[in-house]
């Protein structure tokens, strides 16, 4: 293996590690939120700094790689997408941190189990976590077949989010929930919905890296693009 390839693999491993960290942050934020677990929420908040420093490190590693190796084509696409992915991961971690802070501040929180079920809080959480872990697999295995599935999940997330607006509005109107608490819950739902959007961005970056198709702003984005044509080897 060439030296430049080894360097690239090191870069990729850094991002993978950050990814696992963000996944666990998200998982813990979910648990903390669902169980009103302040201890766990504090843990998430305290590990937020690690995510930030990860992002800085990956950023500078990628800059160095570009400066030293002048990557082109697939290598350049990988480095560019790694930079964007690490920024996006950091934002996702910010949201997880935000959710955790909410749990810490509002320890009385959210004990209306029926409402929670109506809002499908656990489902929306699980969906974005799946999106994040599936996209991790997609990058790790350099396989874009998952991309359509992941992007489809974002629509589920959006739908749950749209329903949540109605459900919470009604719950506040019917005084099933304290309005302040209701709005804050809505903000948590909003954060989760944003995580879904960010996961979609990550998938787009992975597709850009592997298949060199820019999916952004294109309409037909759920069909996986054709793999690069292979010419006969002489």
């Amino acid at each position: 293996m060439k030296h430049t390839e080894k360097e690239l693999i090191t870069l990729k491993e850094g991002v993978s590690e950050m990814w696992r960290l963000v996944l666990s942050q998200l998982e813990k934020a979910k648990q903390a939120f669902l169980n009103n677990d302040v201890e766990l929420a504090r843990e998430v908040a305290s590990r937020e700094k690690r995510v930030d420093s990860f992002e800085l490190k990956i950023d500078s590693d990628c800059e160095n790689y570009i400066a030293l190796y002048n990557p082109v084509a697939v290598d350049l696409r990988l480095v560019l997408s790694l930079i964007k992915i690490s920024i996006t991961l950091e934002r996702i971690a910010d949201f997880a941190d935000g959710i955790a802070k909410y749990v810490i501040d509002e320890s009385a929180g959210f004990d209306n189990r029926d409402l929670r079920d109506d809002l499908q809080v656990e489902t929306i959480f699980d969906t974005v976590i799946e999106m994040l872990s599936d996209s991790y697999v997609a990058l790790d295995s350099e396989n874009t077949r998952l991309s359509g599935k992941i992007l489809a999940k974002d629509e589920t997330v959006d739908e749950i989010y749209r329903n949540a607006i109605k459900i919470l509005a009604e719950a506040i109107r019917e005084k099933k929930i304290d309005p302040e608490n209701g709005i804050k819950t809505m903000l948590v739902m909003r954060k989760i919905e944003r995580i879904g959007d960010h996961c979609s961005n990550i998938v787009e970056e992975i597709v850009f890296y592997i298949d060199a198709k820019v999916l952004k702003h294109s309409k037909n984005r759920t069909s996986p693009p054709a793999p690069p044509e292979k010419t006969k080897k002489n």
């Binding site: 430049t4 002048n70 082109v72 084509a73 697939v74 350049l76 060199a212 690069p228 002489n234």
Partner: protein, 248 residues
């Protein structure tokens, strides 16, 4: 416009170019890249028939400049070479004065009007971005220039005969980075008036100077596309392996 159709070229029994067809538009820079011995230089030299100098070679297919088959019997090779200038890998100024180097093409073409020659020499040196550096020493030997200046002198020499096409065979491979970047700047300027085809081993250079890039391997044109496309997302695996350094 340069165009080839079904070009096959042989050195003796060696099949050096295999069924190459491509078009190069006027006022563009086209770069040829590929591993050593892939045929890119051979292909470049088809356009001013420099391959004619090598014994025991054979060409089939068509090679057209502005629609005219340059290998047709009626074509005079020396007048073809006045339309298609060439710059070589190593600067090769003649052991003459700067002035006479640039005037050489005009003199061998039979021009005797000394005022016209002086004017062309000045224009050409300006065109090659060398005039300001040498205008006071036109009578000095060309060998007194630095390597980068010599190469620009060779470009000026090619410009003096007013070609429409300039072929460059690794024009900066023997130069230091600063001279190289001057040559590259020059290529960007010359593009306005000339059609430029450049062979280079330096892929970054191809990326920097060209509009289109052709990737050659084992005598085949593997991929020919916009330079941005080639360097961002090539369509062929061979191209990608070569430009990312995974070749071989």
């Amino acid at each position: 416009m340069l165009e080839t159709k079904n070009i096959d070229f042989y050195y003796g029994g060696f099949h050096a170019l295999k069924n190459i067809g491509m078009k190069m538009e006027d006022h563009t820079v086209t770069a040829f890249i590929g591993p050593s011995g892939c045929g890119k230089s051979t292909f470049l030299r088809l356009f001013n028939r420099m391959n004619d100098l090598i014994p025991d070679t054979r060409l089939t297919g068509e090679c057209l400049i502005d629609g005219e088959d340059i290998y047709h019997k009626s074509v005079d090779v020396t007048s073809l070479r006045k339309r298609v200038g060439m710059v070589f890998q190593k600067p090769n100024p003649f052991p003459k004065s700067l002035f006479e180097n640039v005037a050489y093409g005009l003199r061998v073409a039979g021009t005797t009007d000394s005022r016209f020659i002086a004017q062309r020499v000045e224009e050409s040196l300006k065109g090659a971005a060398l005039w300001d550096e040498v205008k006071d020493k036109l009578k000095k030997s060309a060998f007194e220039l630095s390597g980068g200046q010599q190469q620009r002198l060779c470009i000026a020499r090619a410009l003096a005969i007013a070609p429409s096409v300039i072929l460059m065979d690794e024009p900066a491979s023997a130069l230091d980075p600063i001279s190289t970047s001057k040559i590259e700047d020059l290529i960007h300027i010359l593009k306005k008036d000339y059609t430029i085809v450049i062979v280079t081993h330096n892929m970054q250079q191809a990326a920097r100077v060209s509009d289109k890039t052709g990737f050659f391997m084992l005598g085949e044109l593997i991929e020919y596309n916009d330079t941005k496309k080639i360097f961002m997302s090539p369509e062929k695996e061979e191209t990608q392996n070569y430009i990312t350094g995974r070749f071989g």
